[in-house]
Symmetry: C2
Subunit: 138 residues, 2 copies
Amino acid sequence: MLMEVGRLIREDFRRRAEHLKLTQSQTLALAHLHKNPGISQVTLAERLEVHPVTITQLVDRLQRAGWVRREVHEDDRRAFRLYVTDKADPILEEVWKIAAQAREHALSGLSRTERDQLDSLLGRMKNNLVGAPTDRSE
Amino acid sequence: MLMEVGRLIREDFRRRAEHLKLTQSQTLALAHLHKNPGISQVTLAERLEVHPVTITQLVDRLQRAGWVRREVHEDDRRAFRLYVTDKADPILEEVWKIAAQAREHALSGLSRTERDQLDSLLGRMKNNLVGAPTDRSE
DNA sequence: TTCATTTTGTTAGTCTACTAACTATTAGCC
DNA sequence: GGCTAATAGTTAGTAGACTAACAAAATGAA
C-alpha cells in the first residue's frame, strides 16, 4: 500500500510537471542545487541519496541542457562546484508550486491531527529501518 | 517521508534478498507468475503496472537465466504463455519468507490498531490520487 | 619527503523503465 | 472475402540507478 501511494504521488507530480520538460530526478537535483549553490557532486549525491556515478550522468545532461554549470573548485582541483544557471529560475518557481499542489492533493481530506498521526507512524517505521542494520535471523 | 520509508523498505528487502541473485523486479515478476501460471506478457505488465516493453526485457533475462519459459499460446499465435520453471520453486519459498520478514521489520513496534490506522490513512490518500484525474487548477 | 590511503569524479557495463515506431496476428465491420 | 481496428510483442533509443574498476588529486603517516 505504501509503495502504491508513493508511486501514485510520483505519477501525479510527473503529470503536473511534464510541461517543464524535466524529469523528476532532474527537477529534484535542480531544486537542491538552488537551495545549496556551490556544492560538489559528492555532496549532491549524498543529499539525493544516490551514488556519485548517477550524479555524473545527471549533471552531464543538466549541463548540456544549460540548467547547471560546473566550476572548478578553488581549493580542490578534483572537485567541481555546481551552480544553477539563471535560465532555471522561472522553472524552479513552478517546481515549488507544483510540489505543494501534489502534496495537498494527496493529503486532501486529512485533518491536521491525521496528518500528524501519519507522520508519526511513518517516522517510527523509518526508525525501525535506519539505525538497526538488517538482522537476517529475525 | 513516505517516499523515504518506501525507499528504506525496498533497500531492506534488497539486502535480505541479495543472496538470491535476483533483482527486485525479477523477484516480483517471478512471484506473480508463480501465482498466475500461463498468463501473457501483457497481463503480467498490467499486474506489475509497467509497460509491456519492460516485460519483454525482464522475461528475456529470466528466460536466459532459466527461471521462466515462454510457450506459444494455443489460440493466439501472437501471444506467449509464461511459466515459472521448477528450478525457481526453492527460490520462491525464500522470497515469501523474506517479504514477511521485511514487512515485520518495518512495522515492528506498531500495534494492531496503529497498523490499521496507517492502512486507513494511506487508503484515503490513494483514493485522492486514483479516481480523480489531476486538476491542474487546484 | 615519499608512499599508502582517501576522496572526487570518470568510464564501462548491467538492469529497469519509458516513448516511439514497427511486425504479425486477430477481430470486426462492410 | 477484404479492409480496417485493435492487440501482442518486438526493436531502437533515452533516462536513471547500480557495481566495478579506474585516474587524478589531496591527505597523512613513516
